[in-house]
Amino acid sequence: MDDPRQRILEATYVCVARWGLSKTTIEDAAREAGLSRATVYRYFPGGRDELIDAVVSWQHLLFFVRLYEEVHGSASLEEVLERGLVFARRTLLEHEVLQKVLDTEPDVLMPKLTVESNRTVGLIAGFLVPYLHDQGVAEGVAVPEAADFLARMILSYISSPGHWDLGDPEQVATLVRTELLAGVVADRTAP
């Protein structure tokens, strides 16, 4: 906890939870962290914009670290996807700060999240690659493109489930079996 950068990020997050993204200033963050403005600028020379972007990045990454902890050790790709979708959706809905900012400052937050989630496609795809190798991909599909496709779809359903209820395990199982895995994995029931 003695890493000043981390301390500043956490303090800024507290401020964002209280006042939102647009109203949080460097002064607020410094005061909350118990540091001087100069120290905050030393770690975030780009000032407020850089600080806010860093907080969004950090929280975004934290979300996917939690998601990783939730699903790693799953026995199969189905299990990874089913557990991951349920956990991710529930976590987003229960994330009070995210929901508050989405509600009050969507135009500020959503473009930042788009940038972050574009980076996340590769991260998720990388995580899925070993599972795809284990399970075997369908004929004509390359592992990297299958992983990329799955990563995109996962991000899409987590963010906007559309008509799917990701709180219902039955629906999640159908979603995984059809729109996610049907074209991706080898048909194991084939002779």
Binding site: M110, P111, T114, G140, R152, M153, S159, G183, T189, A190
Partner: protein
């Protein structure tokens, strides 16, 4: 978004851009066209009603008479018009498709092409991305998916039942939005060959699985198997009764 205003008679070539308006054109149309031209040059934030009036060759007062809501009212009309044009372009392509694979390929390719070729949208994505991107995540994207689904699902209805059509329409919309918001190396959705590949690899097997009992069930039909993906000529004809031969 008023689907009722669709102009289904337009040729595909007309839909991507807009016709230059003349003094004989009704004021409302001139204002909407003028506003779109202004947006394509300067984005949304910087344009004023004076710019729009100049472009439409009328006075500011005339703009206000046609659009008492001012700039917001004009922008809403521009968005409605462009959304309608987008869906009418989709309708032309999807309505002409001969089988399920074609209707998906046509719809997805046309959607990507309409977005990428749209001058005003292209400029907005460069200079005011927050305007566009803020519509394409979380609850707002759910709305976009719902509207797209309402409009496109009926075109799938020739091959799929209503529930299937809705699922597949929403799924296809997701795929297009994902590749537009986050372009992938080597995947160009304006190229129908690449879209067809995606559809064959991922979408058609998913539709087939939707119709199948859950894994472990013993009611699997051998003719329903995904089979050999490398010989694609007859691939879509084998996977389900949704194809040219059986549809006609």
């Amino acid at each position: 978004m008023t689907v009722a205003r669709l102009e289904l008679v337009r040729e595909p070539g007309d839909v991507a851009g807009w016709e230059p308006s003349t003094r004989d054109t009704p004021v409302r149309v001139r204002v909407i066209d003028g506003a779109l031209a202004c947006i394509a040059r300067h984005g949304v934030a910087k344009i004023t009603l004076d710019d729009v009036a100049r472009e439409a060759q009328c006075s500011r007062a005339t703009v206000y008479r046609a659009f008492p809501g001012g700039k917001d009212g004009v922008l809403r009309a521009v968005v409605d018009t462009e959304v309608s044009r987008f869906f009418s372009a989709l309708a032309l392509r999807m309505g002409a498709a001969a089988d399920l694979e074609d209707v998906l390929v046509a719809g997805m390719t046309e959607a990507a092409t309409q977005v990428i070729d749209h001058q005003a949208l292209g400029l907005l994505l460069r200079i005011e991305p927050e305007l566009v991107l803020s519509q394409l995540a979380f609850a707002r994207m759910d709305e976009v998916l719902a509207v797209t689904c309402t409009f496109t699902a009926p075109f799938l209805g020739r091959w799929l039942d209503q529930a299937e059509s809705k699922r597949v329409a929403e799924w296809a919309a997701r795929i297009v939005i994902s590749y537009l918001v986050c372009p992938a190396e080597g995947v160009d959705l304006t190229d129908s060959t690449e879209v067809r590949r995606l559809v064959r690899l991922f979408v058609l097997p998913g539709i087939r699985a939707l119709r199948e009992p859950r894994r472990g069930g013993d009611a699997r039909d051998e003719t329903c198997r995904v089979g050999d993906r490398t010989s694609n000529a007859s691939y879509s004809n084998r996977i389900m009764p949704i194809t040219k031969g059986e549809a006609s």
